[in-house]
Symmetry: C2
Subunit: 449 residues, 2 copies
């Protein structure tokens, strides 16, 4: 593949220019800033590498979709997003978030790590391959959505309606980083999430607290309901909650053991006496990565301002998120939660579903995962850090696992890329090495069983 890398070398400034073009175009989905312009620009860049490119409407911002046919039967897809987080707080940026600036080999701009640097790297890899060889050995599909930063509300529906367009034998997911020592990270899955809001109501109005002797309290009622959800060892008590949890494989545990995680440093940094249940070592890592959660994101009832107010609250609200692991199903859990609360005497508590994403993962020993890992060894010259599952969530299941498509996430970020924060950045060396890594994957993909 040296011939292809030679083209990358010759076109360094071109690919950098694509990145500058894309990063100087704001595309803030949450604020509806520049979305149409950016979708158009991405479509133009796709067409520029010879892809059939088009915008596919959704109920929100369009998906920009592209295809390049290959000589083989296999299909590799790339999932990225062209929207970015809002740039605020502006005063903390050392250069304007939408005026891309390179300082000491580091490229600063809102969205460059999450996710425009990766989007351009994928265009560049295909461009260089086509210029060096005239054709790709595999079919390539580009799926660039515009709503990732607002929770991908229409991606599942898009995938369902366009199953022919998303069908692939493997998907390179949006992004990746390296650890503080420079080791490239590879992510093989994401936790799912069920986010619900519970509302308890009793009387129809807040009362003077003298009534607390005889009028039921919404706050106590909600607390009692929440008290039935977990035991004091952090174990969720909803019947069936753990039934679908897949235990980690031997390969998973091996990957966990190599995950860099300085637990003492992290504990001290957070000011904690201990982690949950006093866990340390492998048990701590396993719970972090492979166990689901039941977390209170927020709870509120009654008077919470300064000073005294003697009030009996008539309403109490709580936001809960459950992080789910394969093969838990957020919709099944939502029903189990409602049934359980009703059985425990809390049928009157309203349970509203706010968000549900399935967990998703590709086995550590899957040939596609192993190909990406081998690519890190070849291109970066070191062993990657493999995360069988990362504890965050995303729409990977809706686009990939639901249709049997293995997905692996890797990209051009670094340990200090500052996603969602001021001075977001990537290192240019990582950008070009990432392109080379993608070229390796393109070249080897049709050798997979």
């Amino acid at each position: 593949m040296d011939d292809i890398l030679q083209v990358v070398e010759e076109r360094r400034e071109v690919y950098l220019d694509w990145l500058v073009q894309l990063c100087q175009q704001p595309s803030i989905a949450a604020q509806n800033v520049g979305m149409a312009e950016t979708a158009h620009l991405v479509e133009r860049l796709l067409a520029g590498i010879g892809a059939s490119a088009r915008q596919i409407p959704t109920a929100g911002y369009p998906v920009v979709y592209g295809e390049v046919g290959g000589t083989g039967d296999k299909t590799l897809s790339f999932y990225n997003h062209y929207d970015v987080q809002p740039p605020e707080p502006l005063e903390e940026w050392h250069s304007d978030p939408f005026t891309p600036t390179v300082r000491e080999g580091v490229f600063y701009a809102r969205g460059v790590a999450d996710n425009k640097g990766n989007l351009v790297a994928r265009l560049a890899a295909v461009d260089a391959y086509l210029r060096a060889r005239g054709s790709l050995p595999v079919n390539v599909k580009f799926i660039f959505e515009g709503e990732e930063e607002i929770g991908s509300p229409h991606l599942a529906g898009f995938a369902e309606q366009h199953q022919d367009l998303i069908r692939a034998d493997g998907c390179i997911w949006e992004a990746g980083y390296c650890d503080v020592e420079g080791h490239r990270e590879v992510y093989l899955g994401l936790k799912g999430i069920l986010y619900v809001e519970l509302t308890a109501r009793q009387a129809n109005v807040d009362l003077h607290s003298m009534w607390a002797a005889i009028v039921p309290s919404a706050a106590w009622h909600l607390l009692r309901a929440l008290g039935t959800l977990k035991d004091d060892q952090d174990r969720v008590l909803i019947p069936g909650f753990y039934d679908d949890v897949l235990p980690p494989s031997a390969a998973d545990l091996e990957a966990l053991a190599h995950m860099p995680f300085d637990e003492d440093a992290r504990r001290q940094q957070l000011g904690l006496r201990a982690f949950i249940n006093g866990l340390t070592g492998p048990a701590l890592r396993e719970k972090y990565v492979f166990q689901p959660t039941c977390n209170i994101c927020g709870i509120e009832s009654g008077y919470t301002g300064e000073g005294l107010k003697t009030v009996l609250p008539h309403q109490a609200r709580c936001k809960l998120d459950f992080r789910l692991v394969p093969n838990q199903n957020p919709h099944k859990l939502f029903e189990q939660l409602q049934t359980y609360l009703a059985e425990q005497g809390f049928a009157d508590i309203e349970v509203r579903l706010s968000a549900a994403l399935h967990p998703a993962r590709t086995a550590t020993d899957h040939p596609f995962a192993q190909l990406v890992i081998r690519g890190v060894r070849e291109i970066y010259g070191h062993e990657p850090v493999v995360y069988p599952l990362i504890p965050g969530s995303g729409p990977m299941y809706d686009l990939c696992q639901r249709y049997g498509i293995p997905a692996v996430s890797v990209g051009v970020g670094n340990a200090n890329s500052r996603n969602h924060a001021p001075n977001e950045n990537i290192r240019l060396d990582d950008f070009y090495q990432g392109i080379a890594h993608l070229i390796f994957i393109l070249e080897q993909f049709d050798t997979l069983p």
Copy 2:
């Protein structure tokens, strides 16, 4: 006492003018509006009836104190306050809150029911007595504080420093009302209160909720702590909590039975399926009046705004109030609460004392209580509604019971007096009848054993 009532009749306009003067003078303690002017006016009114009058400084607003000597040995004291609640929301008043206005026999002004109408009625009763008879049969003390609406922060200290000034054989407490059918109410005590704020902390910063698998949550920690305080039958689990609770006497239960309380109407008005534990009838009344509470006034942790935020809160706060019955001690309970939480594994939760007031009461069959009740029969011509204990709280213990002084609360308000609300009012008939009732008490007081 017809000769004295004759004087009241002759001086109706004078007493009404005193009320107008006092009500047109704003005295909003919470906003430091007109406090010095009002203290001076009250001192002048006291001097005007021949009392030795002076202002006694406290760390806050002064106590206006007055004495009128009597021919007998006994001493009767009057506790009132010259401060009022803020008048807001102004747009809901039908006439200016500090421009006293009489419409159809009802006097409207901020503070007229709570507590200026009662303060003036007590001045008027003594004035009429002195004018008719030349002297009082008992010594009278007036204790008019200026901080009741902000929680009487300096009254306990004032009483402790001036025990000679507050010493009395009985105290007529600040206020009273009638029920919707016009029956005068007599209150023989108040619940105490312990108000605390609990704060649980875990990590030193809020975290992404993916950390919930291994990082302890302040919200769950606080909820578990609160879960140890009460069982699901509303019984407080702090050891010793009920040890000092006095069971109601036969006279108390008799008074309870006559307390007008339409439980079905009240339940429906509040939109409740049932009261706590499904209680009805005498058991419901007894719990309302004679049982202590443990109430969540407010609880807050994490993200409580609209929409989704996936956060693991590092801090959780809760405001609790315990309403206490005789002879529970709020300071003792504060220590019991801290000890209990520590024993249950929550020593790290901060427990801050916000307010503590002892419960206070005078026995239903106490001669002083019976005198006030007899006065209602004589003056109003009907049986009063006697509350052995009202479920609210106030500084009665600090001024009276602590020094062995029986206290009874009665006054000139009505069932729709709108304390603390727009269009606060008293009926003028109640004002003059209240004066007559006080004259009856003055005349009979030295007949007590």
